[in-house]
Symmetry: C2
Subunit: 114 residues, 2 copies
DNA sequence: TTATTATATAACTATGTGCTTATATAAGCA
DNA sequence: TGCTTATATAAGCACATAGTTATATAATAA
């Protein structure tokens, strides 16, 4: 077998987490590159606490990790999650969300720390 | 690409449906063979209405289909669902639930219509 | 026909979820 | 030191969800 067999509870918990359109889209966005909270707030046109709460659920489940850079906190996929392979396969079914990041670029709202 | 790209809403809706342990297990059981409601009631040790309501959600989403045989109604995976490929891939991560059906056999509770 | 078995549906309830507003924490800047 | 920006957390509310009990429908058997 090419992947670890998941535990039933862990698999259903992961599906429940990604059974939310916002969180599923976040994971798809992070597939390509890390994002900070304010970028996601802009993309989802929702409140900052709402985005933070979604990110916390993903982080509590170990699906993403955070990386502070100055005043910003960047989130990225955690490749060491036991659920990583499942997630990769799932988000392969989600259409690309790159246009959202391109929109941000056009508005000059991308955050870059080098 | 070896599969149809899903619509974002349809994918998240499917994940939400299978983000429930009972429904995820039902889909895993049906992967191997059709089951009738009373078998599932026995397996999940829950009420008959509870199982019926889970099955209705799966049927409303087009993930399963029903087939009446006399007084029993057998449910099976709907291979024509647009979500079929996604479902197949994700239930591959769920451990086999065959032991549940074997238990039923031992107790003489399997329903067979020939 | 009546009784029994299998399943579905409706109404209710308890719990969970996602959002909002308000506030706290933390980093950077004047 | 304030002031601003970015993020997190807490509390409250509206709505969704999964279970329960009671009842309806449908098939079968006596």
């Amino acid at each position: 077998m090419s992947f670890e067999m998941g535990d039933l509870d862990e698999v259903s918990q992961t599906l429940k987490l990604l059974g939310d359109k916002t969180r599923l889209t976040i994971m798809k966005l992070l597939e390509k590159q890390e994002c900070c909270v304010c970028e996601l707030v802009e993309i989802f046109k929702t409140s900052q606490p709402s985005v933070s709460q979604h990110l916390r659920k993903l982080k509590d489940a170990g699906l993403v990790k955070e990386n502070r850079k100055g005043q910003w906190i960047f989130y990225s996929i955690n490749p060491n999650s036991p659920q990583h392979e499942l997630i990769q396969q799932l988000i392969a079914f989600v259409p690309s969300q790159d246009h959202e990041l391109e929109e941000l670029d056009k508005k000059g709202l991308r955050i870059s720390c080098n």
